[in-house]
C-alpha cells in the first residue's frame, strides 16, 4: 500500500440499541480496490456511509488525506460533507438510481454541473466517459431505454466524471447476471484503480471480491481480523 487516502479510526454507530458499527477501523490506499463482505445486517452499508460522509459516526474519525492535507470528515457539517461527496467522492448504488427524465448524457453531466462546471464542458466530459465505458451512441437515450448493465455503466461514468479520488459502490452488481456483472466490474476497476483512484465495493459476490486487491469481512459491526484474502 503506497499512500493512504482514507482512514477510519474506531467508528461506532448506533441505531437505537443496535450497534451497526463498533470500533471499526480501516484504511484505504490511494489506488487500491477494497471489497467489504459480510452477512446481511453486519454493517457494511453503514460503514460505507460513514466513510463517504453520508452519515456521521457516533464516535471515531474518518480521515481523508488528499494533496498533503488531512481532514476529519466525521467532524464536518452537512454542507461541507455534501461538497466533499460532490467533488471528491463518487457513488454507484445497487440500482443505478439515475434520474429517469434525463438522458444518459445529462445524468452524467449533472454531477460536474452541481459543482458549477459549465454545461457544455460537463457534457463534453460526460460524452468522453460514456464513450470510454462503451456507451458511445447511447448518449441521448433515457434511462428506461437502457439495459441494467448499461445503466450501471452510466452510473459509473457519473461517479467518475468529477474526477473522484474515491469511488464507493454498494452492491453495484447485485441486480445483474454474472456476465454483465463481470463487465460492470471491468468498467469500475478500469475507471478507478487503473487511473490511480481508490474503489470501495460492498458485495455479497465472492467473484466480485476476488477481483479487488483486498477484502475485509464484517461481523456484527466489527471488522474481522485480517484473513487470507480470497
Amino acid at each position: 500500500m503506497t499512500s493512504v487516502v482514507l482512514e477510519a479510526q474506531y467508528l461506532d454507530k448506533f441505531y437505537g440499541p443496535t450497534a451497526a458499527l463498533s470500533a471499526a477501523s480501516l484504511s484505504i490506499g490511494a489506488s487500491e480496490s477494497l471489497a467489504i463482505m459480510g452477512a446481511s445486517g453486519s454493517g457494511k452499508t453503514t460503514l460505507l456511509h460513514c466513510l463517504a460522509g453520508i452519515i456521521p459516526p457516533d464516535r471515531g474519525r474518518v480521515l481523508l488525506r488528499l494533496g498533503g492535507t488531512e481532514t476529519d470528515i466525521a467532524a464536518l457539517d452537512e454542507r461541507r460533507r455534501s461538497q466533499l461527496r460532490r467533488e471528491t467522492f463518487g457513488f454507484v448504488f445497487q440500482q443505478g438510481l439515475l434520474i429517469p427524465e434525463l438522458t444518459a448524457l445529462e445524468n452524467v453531466a449533472i454531477a460536474p454541473m452541481l459543482s458549477g462546471v459549465a454545461r457544455r464542458v460537463a457534457e463534453d466530459n460526460a460524452r468522453q466517459w460514456l464513450g470510454w465505458l462503451g456507451l458511445a451512441g447511447l448518449e441521448d437515450r433515457r434511462i428506461g431505454q437502457l439495459s441494467g448493465g448499461q445503466a450501471q455503466r452510466v452510473a459509473i461514468a457519473r461517479a467518475q466524471v468529477t474526477g473522484a479520488s474515491v469511488v464507493f459502490a454498494d452492491e453495484p452488481t447485485g441486480a445483474l447476471d454474472s456476465r454483465t456483472s463481470d463487465e460492470v466490474m471491468d468498467a469500475l476497476l478500469r475507471s478507478t484503480t487503473a487511473q490511480g483512484r481508490a474503489l470501495v465495493v460492498v458485495t455479497h459476490d465472492a467473484d466480485v471480491a476476488a477481483r479487488c486487491s483486498r477484502t475485509v469481512h464484517m461481523r456484527d459491526g466489527r471488522i474481522q481480523p485480517a484473513e487470507v484474502a480470497a
Binding site: T45, H49, A52, I54, I55, R79, S82, Q83, L84, R85, R86, E87, F89, F91, F93, Q94, Q95, L97, I99, P100, E101, L102, E106, I110, A111, M113, L114, A118, R119, R142, G144, R158, D170
Partner: protein
C-alpha cells in the same frame, strides 16, 4: 378480513402521520370550500322576486366553473392516498392477496381518509360561514341564517366528497394495473399535428369577431349564450393545445438550461407535458374566466352607470363582479391545494431518488428548486397564456374596459397575481417533505 387489513396498513404510524394527514387535510379543504359555495348558492335560492332567477342562473354558472378544480383536487387527494399505499400493496400481492382484495383495500382506505377529512371540513366550514355571511349581495350582507346549510345537506356533502374519493381511487387503480407499479412510462403529449394550433388560433380569432358583434344582440339572454359558447369553446381549445405548448416551451428550456435545477425542471415537464398541464390546468380556466368575465362585468358596470340605468341593473352588475371574485379566489385556493397535494405525492414517489441525489452531494435546495420549476414554469405559461387568449377573445370588451374602468383590470391582475402566489405557497408547504426524503438514509440500497 379486508377491513382489518386496511386498518393494519392505513393505521397512522409516526413516520406516516404526515403523509396520512395530507390527504385528510386536502379532503377537509375540499369539503369546507364546497360547503361555502353551496351556502352562497342557497342564499340566492331564498329570494323569490323577479331578479331571483337571474341570480340563480349565475349561481349555477359559478358552481359549474368550480366543478373542474374541485374534482381535480378530489382526484389529487385520492391519488396521494393511493401513492402512499403502492409499496404496501405490492407487498400484499407478494403475500398472495388477490388483485380484487388489494383493490378493495385501496378503495376502502381512500374512502376512510376522505370521510375523516370531510367531517373535519364540515367543522372547519363553521369558521368560514360567518365570513361568507358578511359578503354583500343586492346591497346587504347575506346573513348567517341564509348561508348555513341544513344538516341533511351537510351529510350529503360528506357522502359526495367520499364518493369522489372512491371513484378516483377506482380510476387510479385501473391506471396502476395498466402500467406496472414503479415503472415510469413515458407518456408523450400526442404529437400534435401542426393543423391543431392553426385551428386553435382560427377559433380564437372567430370567437373574438363574434364577441365584437355582441353589442348588436338585443337581449341579455342572447348575449349570455354567445358568451357561454365563446367561453366554453375557448376553454376546450386551451385544454387541447395546453400540453402541446408546454412541450414546446420545455424543449426550448432543456436546450437553454445552464444550471442543474433548470435542466431538471425542464426535463421534468418534458417527461409528461400532459401531467404538467393537468397539474395547473385549473389556473388556465380561472385566469381565463377572470379576464373574460371580469372585463365583461366591468363594461356592463360602466355602461349601466353611464346610461343612468335603473338601480337594479347596477346592483346586478356589481353583484356579478363580487360573485366572480369569490369564484376566482375559491378556484385558486383549490388549484393551490391540488398542486400541494400532487407535489406531496410526487415527492413520496421519488423518495429513493431524492435520497440518492442527496448522497451524490446534490443539496436539497437544488432538488427543491427543480421541483418548483416543474410547477411554476407551466403555471406562469398557463395562467398568462390563458389571460392573453381571453384578452384577445374579448378584445372589444377589454378595450372598452380599459377606457371605461381601468381600475377593474388592475383588480383582475391583482387577483391573478394573488392566485399564483397561493399556488407558490402550496409548493413551499411541501418543501419540508422533500427535505425529509433527501435526508433519509434507506436501510437498503
Amino acid at each position: 378480513m379486508i377491513p382489518r387489513l386496511t386498518w393494519m396498513l392505513a393505521r397512522p404510524t409516526r413516520e406516516s402521520l404526515g403523509v396520512t394527514a395530507l390527504p385528510v387535510v386536502a379532503f377537509g379543504i375540499v369539503t369546507a370550500l364546497l360547503i361555502a359555495v353551496l351556502g352562497g348558492a342557497q342564499a340566492f335560492w331564498s329570494w323569490t322576486d323577479d331578479l331571483a332567477i337571474t341570480y340563480q342562473a349565475l349561481a349555477i354558472v359559478a358552481l359549474a366553473l368550480l366543478i373542474v378544480p374541485l374534482t381535480t383536487l378530489g382526484g389529487s387527494a385520492a391519488r396521494l392516498s393511493a401513492r402512499r399505499r403502492d409499496d404496501r400493496l405490492a407487498t400484499l400481492r407478494l403475500l398472495g392477496a388477490t388483485p380484487a382484495s388489494v383493490g378493495a383495500i385501496a378503495v376502502l382506505e381512500s374512502a376512510a381518509l376522505a370521510l375523516v377529512g370531510a367531517v373535519l371540513g364540515v367543522v372547519a366550514s363553521f369558521g368560514l360561514l360567518p365570513l361568507l355571511a358578511l359578503i354583500p349581495f343586492r346591497g346587504e350582507p347575506l346573513g348567517l341564517g341564509s348561508v348555513v346549510l341544513p344538516p341533511l345537506a351537510l351529510v350529503g356533502v360528506v357522502l359526495g366528497v367520499t364518493l369522489v374519493a372512491v371513484v378516483s381511487a377506482v380510476l387510479g387503480l385501473r391506471r396502476v394495473t395498466i402500467s406496472p407499479l414503479g415503472v415510469r412510462t413515458r407518456q408523450d403529449a400526442p404529437r400534435a399535428h401542426w393543423i391543431l394550433p392553426v385551428l386553435a388560433v382560427l377559433f380564437i380569432l372567430v370567437t373574438a369577431l363574434a364577441m365584437s358583434a355582441l353589442s348588436g344582440l338585443g337581449s341579455i339572454v342572447a348575449i349570455l349564450v354567445v358568451l357561454a359558447i365563446g367561453f366554453g369553446g375557448s376553454i376546450a381549445v386551451l385544454n387541447l393545445i395546453g400540453p402541446w405548448v408546454l412541450r414546446l416551451v420545455a424543449r426550448g428550456r432543456v436546450r437553454r438550461a445552464r444550471t442543474p435545477e433548470k435542466l431538471l425542471a425542464a426535463r421534468g415537464i418534458l417527461e409528461s407535458p400532459k401531467a404538467a398541464w393537468r397539474q395547473v390546468s385549473g389556473t388556465a380556466m380561472v385566469s381565463f374566466m377572470a379576464v373574460f368575465a371580469g372585463s365583461g362585468a366591468a363594461v356592463l358596470d360602466a355602461l349601466s352607470g353611464a346610461e343612468g340605468a335603473d338601480s337594479e341593473t347596477r346592483m346586478l352588475t356589481a353583484d356579478i363582479a363580487t360573485g366572480l371574485t369569490i369564484t376566482v379566489v375559491i378556484s385558486f385556493l383549490m388549484v393551490a391545494c391540488s398542486v400541494g397535494v400532487n407535489q406531496a405525492a410526487g415527492i413520496l414517489d421519488r423518495a429513493d431518488l431524492y435520497a440518492s441525489l442527496h448522497r451524490l452531494g446534490m443539496p436539497p435546495a437544488v432538488a427543491d428548486a427543480a421541483r418548483r420549476g416543474t410547477v411554476m414554469v407551466p403555471l406562469l405559461v398557463t395562467s398568462l397564456g390563458s389571460a392573453v387568449v381571453a384578452a384577445i377573445v374579448v378584445f372589444p370588451l377589454t378595450g372598452a374596459a380599459l377606457l371605461l374602468a381601468p381600475l377593474s383590470l388592475v383588480v383582475i391582475g391583482a387577483v391573478l397575481a394573488a392566485g399564483i402566489l397561493l399556488v407558490r405557497l402550496g409548493l413551499v408547504a411541501t418543501a419540508p417533505l422533500l427535505r425529509r426524503a433527501s435526508l433519509s438514509v434507506p436501510v437498503s440500497v
